[in-house]
Amino acid sequence: MTILVLAEHDNATLAVATAKAVAAARAMGGDIHVLVAGAGCGAVGEAAAKLDGVGKVLVADNDAYEHHLAETVSELIVHLAGGYSHIVAAATTTGKNTMPRVAALLDVMQVSDITAVVGPKTFERPVYAGAAIQTVEASAETVVVTVRASAFDAVGDGGSAPVEAVDFVAGAPKVRFVSRDAAVSAGPELANARIVVSGGRALGSEDKFNEMIKPLAEKLGAAIGASRAAVDAGYAPNDWQVGQTGKVVAPDLYIAVGISGAIQHLAGMKNSKVIVAIDKDPDAPIFAVADYGLVGDLFALVPELTEAL
């Protein structure tokens, strides 16, 4: 039994999500190979080789994979799939984009967004925005899985696996990369931050969002998140959205400011270790999941909290 894990990276740096996907693969059991598909991504291959539990790293370094197009990367994975019992990727936007293609081309179902490994082919995954947890068992010869990274602890980096080049080049796709607009964010990455401070619609404006949330996040060294309502209202960029269809986070400390706590938002943060909620409405559903609730005017309480830390 050998498992292929697709590395998440930007051609320069290996994302932490990969070390978490490797942790899930280790729980499934068997040898683990990591595939780094990109262009000019040699350093990523070396970083992947250090991950604990990895037996071999395959590096497909070619312009065809530079922008991680689902078409070319899935073709590469299908080319390599023959020897593998499992093909695994973190459920990042890249993993979600690519892996269902791999599954379809192999004529198997994908198990999406697993949160626990019960057995080699048996997994837990949330459905209905986390309102229910399904245990599913795959029977296919090749099991295709995406992993909710926040549900697994990253493996260490004390390993030294051999790195092998893969020569296969995918055919020209009928899609071309045009541009990428990176959201500017000074703090830590939302998906992996130890502390997250999120703001909701009650902040009332983009200016107030920045005025209240940013100093608190800076003081705590926290990443900034937002509810869907705050994102839709234009207070925060889309990739700050925490929830069923945004990012799913599980930090040590999650501070929800002016967020009522719709089930779609709770789906993205309710597995945080400690949750603090600050809102003026004592009946807001967010208080039902909060370890510590503080009811009052957030425009007074948040600056006071920032000051007190």
Binding site: A70, E71, T92, T93, T94, K96, N97, T98, M99, P100, R101, A104, V108, M109, Q110, V111, S112, D113, T122, V127, Y128, A129, A131, A132, I133, Q134, T135, V136, S139, A140, K174, V175, R176, V178, R180, D181, A183, A191, I195, L220, V231, D232, P237, N238, T245, K247, D252, L253, I263, Q264, V274, I275, V276, V289, D291, G293, L294, E304, L305, A308
Partner: protein, 249 residues
Amino acid sequence: MKILVPVKRVLDANIAVRVKSDGTGVDLANQKMSMNPFDEIAVEEAIKLKEAGIASEIVAVSIGPAQAQDTLRSALAMGADSAVLVKTDAVVEPLAVAKILKAVVAQQSPDLVIMGKQAIDDDSNQTAQMLSALLGWPQATFASKVVIADGKATVTREVDGGLETLELDLPAVVSTDLRLNTPRYASLPNVMKAKKKPLEEIDAASLGVSLDATLKVVSTVKPADRKPGSMVGSVAELVEKLKTEARVI
């Protein structure tokens, strides 16, 4: 240009999910069912393309029981021209859905398929990508902007860390994210008109796709509740508890 919009009938987003105590699934009996919200966004986008003179025809398709007709009528009331119901009472997995949609594409010959990025029941987020792979058409998932011109689709996608823009040759498959548009409400006259629009029924079995489940659902349970928390009276008390009780700062 012809657009195919697959729509799924799901538990209404505003209904609280009740997990059956025997672990066999979610209780859907006598519950309000609606169109998957991401699919509503897909229908809206197709209508906008038609209003802009880019699309000429919109066909909605659903796979499910007879009641999925209601979901298709909703799409027709919003502005789709005709509908196809691929009828089955089975629980159909995303791969089988993609195979059925491939067969419908062969019958309908659309230039573009627009569909929701995920259904809010199983949260799989697979079908559009699978359909794209099976058709050999390019894909743009998680779309927040779609521009069609000169036989190409330029699609802005919501990705981790920002936005990405791709240019796709048509025909193509696009899946919708939340911020693509705000779906319209169907007016009463349009709801009435929708009742007269063509709705074709196909027996799923006639398409030659196996509907047998390949993933075995062992159990469906309610997640463990969080331990009840406590209210604090002041910022000072909060900071104190975070430091000494929770020890996270």
